[in-house]
Symmetry: C2
Subunit: 347 residues, 2 copies
DNA sequence: ACCACGTCTGAAATGCATTTCAAGAAAATG
DNA sequence: CATTTTCTTGAAATGCATTTCAGACGTGGT
């Protein structure tokens, strides 16, 4: 008693158990390897055999057992996408940007016929990711936003775990990151502020996040070049939620001179800033210039429309997947900056 | 030559191949079943054995091969979440609501230690889903939004494929759906319009989508009860994107008397309507009452703030997963309406 | 007519963990 | 002390597809 085909014979038919390749082989009067070859599109079978087997397989609604398949093969053709929902759920703010990014990745994976395993339970321990590789669950990881887990990512890179990151591109980091040119993004915002003649700038964002820090640096660089003609201040909110940002701005303008330019780390944060400023009687663009980040769909339709730095999510997904697969196949992949530009909206 | 442990012996050690359970068993001087029991937390092993094996396993970074595991077991502990990114990408509108729903489902799955396979490549053929079950890829499906695929869902239900749907709850359908009480949602909007003294209502939405049709029906029921005191019209846009809705409303008000109340199928659509109306000189709430749907985070911060029907995404996720697992375990599950209420915002 | 070579197909080995069944050891009972 | 239970543990069978390797069949060459 070896194969389920024989089983079937010995212990009566349709046991409500699924059919196996052996069953199809028997029915088609060929061997398992032949069925396997047909189903995987191998050119080593005659057209006649191929059609015959295919017909039988279809008739019986047979589908290759993916677990047996993956067990035998080395690759899993599955990619884990790690997305920290938690950090977005704070204050019920699901930034649409991340969603678009996810859609971009999903699309790119499906083009290559790879499965997408979505991890929402985010671990800070490199070992957990190593385990998933060892367990042959996935071929690699795509991190959407590196958040504050840089040290872990370095460790993972050292361990040779294939992964790519959407986020800050820092050539000194040992891993492959793809992202917009955050430093340039910051400079674009600063240049825009100068063009609008603004001199009291406020940066909203948390420097613990590498992406955001680089935007901050870009903005600061422009300010510094003005040699004292521009004052720049920073507001770090408790978390990245709408609510925290809203409160943060309220508190800020209660305690300080109001800024005449605000650069927020995201369009969502920009919306929060707009609301808080309006409550205090300041409206953009009359009283202050505003720049957000991401160019999420509502940004253009908000009142006021939000000037913002665009991120190309579709392209991002394609590149992330491409880089990851390079690594999975044993190659190296280097970080990439995506085209980054300012979308000016002056209602 | 049977087990990889023996293999190891015969063809030299660390072949850069992963360690298997047999290896751990050998190292720990126990048998494979014992290791298996330890790793699956079976109570049939002594505490001493457990710790000893665990220690060795950890030392060697061993993780159970999930493919071998799933091959042997019947369950896959994986759920496929089907989400038609495509239909949202039209016009680059990623409705944050779907994202929140996804987050809710992801959270609920992770609580139960189930993996989430995200399918973005949406098939209209029931057989493709049957294949995924036959291939032991997943235990069942969660459809986020039934869109226009009702017939297929019926077929799937008949075939006994375990799945649940977020969307319209229709007791006459043979499958399990979870969703807000769309009819009630429509009635709430109508009642609100009456309270505001509005008499020329416009419904924006496509009746091909069951959810939306039911909202329409709810609204119409209220209008009908007014016996002619209320006029109600419908605007069906080309697709559900922001852009199409915006253009649709523009065209509508160019050709018709402007409505004094608008009920839009989503908050995103509501935003589009607001923009189009404003361009024509009408502002809410002065000139017209507006009700959206979903209560997405920006709705409360938009100008004007959007009155909307709330959907509880977190609860939705939990219920969807619970129902699905009931079905996977062979039980039946019946459709459920979630609490549905109007969030009134009058800026 | 015989050998070489190319094409197609099949038997057996392989990847790895779980489950069943039975046996051995230890503890409880008479 | 003999015997019945109760725990622990292990050997072997099982789930299923892919890959390697060797064999079969047919065709072109001499």
């Amino acid at each position: 008693m070896q194969d389920s085909a024989e089983n079937g014979k010995k212990r009566g038919r349709s046991r409500s158990m699924g059919v196996s390749m052996a069953d199809i082989a028997q029915l088609a009067k060929v061997s398992k390897p032949t069925v396997s070859r047909v189903l995987s599109g191998s050119p080593l079978v005659t057209e006649a055999t191929r059609e015959h087997v295919l017909k039988i397989a279809r008739e019986h609604g047979y589908a290759v057992n993916r677990n047996a398949q993956k067990l035998r093969q080395t690759r899993t053709d599955t990619v884990s996408v790690v997305l920290d929902f938690g950090s977005y759920r704070g204050g019920r703010i699901a930034d649409p940007f991340i969603f678009e990014l996810l859609a971009g990745v999903a699309e790119a994976l499906s083009v290559r016929n790879l499965d997408l395993l979505l991890s929402s339970q985010v671990s800070q321990d490199a070992r957990d990711y190593q385990d998933q590789i060892s367990a042959r669950m996935v071929d690699g990881f795509i991190f959407l936003g590196q958040g504050e887990r840089d040290p872990m990512l370095r460790q993972m890179a050292k361990a040779g775990i294939p992964f790519v990151v959407w986020g800050a591109v820092d050539p000194t980091e040992p891993y492959c990151a793809v992202g917009s040119d955050n430093f340039l993004g910051g400079k674009l915002a600063g240049t825009y502020f100068l063009k609008c003649g603004r001199t009291r700038w406020l940066f909203i964002g948390n420097d613990n996040h590498a992406e955001i820090r680089m935007r901050h640096d870009g903005l600061s660089a422009v300010a510094r070049a003005e040699q004292g003609r521009v004052a720049i201040d920073t507001l770090t909110c408790e978390d990245m939620s709408y609510v925290a940002t809203h409160r943060g701005v309220q508190d800020y303008i209660a305690a300080n001179d109001p800024p005449d330019a605000i650069f927020a780390f995201s369009d969502t944060a920009a919306m929060a800033a707009i609301a808080a400023m309006r409550e205090a009687g300041f409206v953009s663009p009359r009283d202050y210039a505003l720049v957000g980040y991401n160019n999420i769909p509502p940004a253009g339709h908000f009142t006021p429309a939000i000037t913002t730095v665009e991120q190309e999510t579709h392209l991002a997904g394609a590149i992330l997947v491409e880089k990851l697969m390079q690594m999975v196949e044993g190659g190296r992949a280097n970080s990439t900056l995506l085209p980054t530009r300012l979308i000016v909206r002056e209602t």
